[in-house]
């Protein structure tokens, strides 16, 4: 028997496989197609203080080995998520619930985190300072180290749950941003969110997406994500949730070798709704193939000289 258990800031995960925020709804919907209790954790749809419809449609553009989305943080607002969505998920799901939070000001981030802190159902808070699809918010917080530090400090003040800051790859120096998280008192780092991208409709001679520019994700971004996880692992002591283009159990292992303690699967859920389950099922076989007894032995192993 191989060991797939990992520990994220005191939260034990039965395996490191977590569907990424925005690709798995509030989780319970997927229980109709498979038992979601096979998943180590679920990062639920990003939530803001107020309900949001999000951006105009079309919001999706296909790319080679990926897609661009510009959803714009559509969500029912923090009150509905606290009262309805999270309890609904907890009723059927016993593993780690990761609540993903977005905001348009430092106060909004803190407001949402305080609300989530009151929920015993939530194990980890993931703070999204990296949404590329909303103006005056999201990513603008994630591109400047001082902003990241300010948000981190503000949310840490109002919660005793582990806080992961979710970073954007759309920066010059990911390491300086990661260090700002550490400086602000973050418990961990999630990376990467989507990379900005554009597609143009040749017939219409206009961008495919109504909002023009969106966030690119999918298998194509895996090497970029892997590189950033690798760099951040070297620079900070915080545990990392590796995200970006993960589609197979091999990808999970590679992410962990780069330095991730847990791994999130995003876009792949949208093309194969069974992706996370399939990865969980394959993981022990792939571990055996590469002589891995315990996943904890390979975290960051690629850094060894």
């Amino acid at each position: 028997m191989v060991n797939t258990k990992v520990n994220l800031c005191g939260v034990e995960l039965i395996n490191p496989v977590i569907p990424a925020s925005g690709t798995f709804g509030f989780g319970y919907e997927f229980n109709d197609i498979y038992d979601i209790n096979v998943l180590g954790g679920i990062s639920i749809k990003g939530t803001t203080k107020e309900p949001r419809f999000g951006n105009p449609t079309p919001r999706i553009a296909e790319c080679t080995s990926g897609l661009i989305n510009s959803i714009g943080l559509q969500n029912p607002g923090i009150d509905a998520v606290v009262k309805e969505e999270i309890p609904k998920l907890r009723k059927i799901y016993r593993n780690a619930i990761i609540s993903n939070i977005s905001g348009f000001s430092v106060d909004e981030y803190a407001y949402c985190c305080e609300k989530i802190n009151a929920l015993k159902e939530v194990d980890i808070i993931e703070v999204n300072v990296s949404c590329p699809n909303v103006h005056n918010g999201g990513m603008s917080f994630g591109t400047l180290p001082e902003n990241v530090e300010a948000v981190t400090k503000a949310v840490k003040k109002v919660t005793d749950k582990p806080v992961f800051i979710k970073l954007t790859p759309n920066v010059t120096d990911i390491v300086s941003i990661a260090k700002a998280c550490e400086q602000g008192g973050a418990d961990g780092i999630s990376l990467i969110n989507t990379s900005q991208g554009l597609r143009i409709d040749l017939k219409k001679r206009r961008p495919v997406i109504a909002n023009k520019i969106g966030g690119f994700s999918g298998r194509a971004v895996f090497p970029i994500a892997l590189k950033m996880v690798y760099q951040v692992y070297q620079a900070v002591k915080l545990p990392i949730m590796g995200i970006g283009g993960v589609a197979t159990a091999e990808d999970v292992i590679e992410m962990m070798m780069a330095g991730a303690t847990a791994v999130q699967v995003g876009a792949e859920n949208l093309v194969n709704p069974y992706a996370c389950r399939d990865i969980v099922n394959n993981l022990p076989f792939v571990m055996k193939k590469y002589g891995i007894q315990d996943l904890n032995d390979i975290i960051g192993v690629a850094h060894n000289e």
Partner: protein, 243 residues
């Protein structure tokens, strides 16, 4: 939703750009007005195509070649095995139909009405079907609807076949109807909305990411709140539509 592997039985051109494909496999649980989402090698996203008919274990889809995915589909000639998600969307419900439902389809909005017409006739209703196209060369499935026993009116914009004008010009020739079921381009749906007097169910199209409600890529606003075209739709009640 189910993930199944379907075998292509046949694929034939109905017009210059519209194809009919039949696939075989496990089709349990598929309702009229739903769609399937087909994975194609080398293309990242699946291709959502409406269900035209289900007969035993044979699924019929009719699609127009508009891009890479449908081009790829049109080149298949049988024997290919496709990874397909089935049972997607809410579909049409026959409960509201009344005795004389009116079915209105425009272009590739026609196919999903076929399975619905079949079910309605099986229930003893007397549907009238209006099929709208731009010109005579684009007309398809008139005989198939007639063979079901439906009353069929065809309209073409240039008048080269049937009633000259839009589907709403054909509506004027229907003396009486109890409910409207429609599918087609949004301007047509809006025209039908304004030109008809009864309640109705309107099937919408939107560019989708996943096709099963996870990504929020195809959301729209309705009087009953935000809905996902792929999961809460594609069929909306006339009462809830906001144009």
């Amino acid at each position: 939703m189910k993930k199944v592997y379907l075998t292509v039985l046949q694929n034939q051109a109905l017009t210059d750009s519209v194809y009919k494909m039949q696939l075989k496999g496990d089709l349990s649980g598929i309702r009229a007005g739903q769609f399937v989402n087909i994975a194609l090698d080398g293309l990242y996203l699946r291709r959502p195509i409406s269900v035209c008919d289900v007969e035993g274990d044979v699924l019929t889809i009719i699609y127009k070649v508009v891009g890479k995915g449908t081009e790829r589909l049109s080149a298949m000639d049988g024997g290919e095995i496709l990874d397909v998600l089935t049972g997607l969307g809410n579909g049409y419900f026959t409960d509201f139909a009344g005795d004389k439902p009116l079915l209105i389809g425009g272009g590739v909005g026609v196919p999903p009405l076929y399975y619905l017409a079949k079910l309605l006739i099986k229930e003893g209703k007397k549907p009238t079907v209006i099929l709208g196209f731009n010109k005579a060369e684009e007309v398809f499935y008139k005989e198939e609807f007639e063979a079901l026993g439906a009353t069929v009116l065809v309209s073409t914009v240039d008048g080269s076949f049937g009633i000259k004008g839009f589907v709403t010009d054909a509506v004027k020739q229907v003396p009486e109807y109890s409910h409207v079921y429609t599918c087609g381009p949004e301007p047509m749906l809006k025209a039908v909305y304004n030109a008809t007097t009864t309640g109705g169910h309107y099937s919408f199209e939107e560019r989708m990411g996943c096709g099963f409600g996870a990504c929020m890529g195809c959301s729209c606003k309705t009087k009953y709140g935000n809905k996902r075209i792929c999961k809460d739709g594609p069929v909306l009640d006339k009462e809830e539509i906001i144009w």
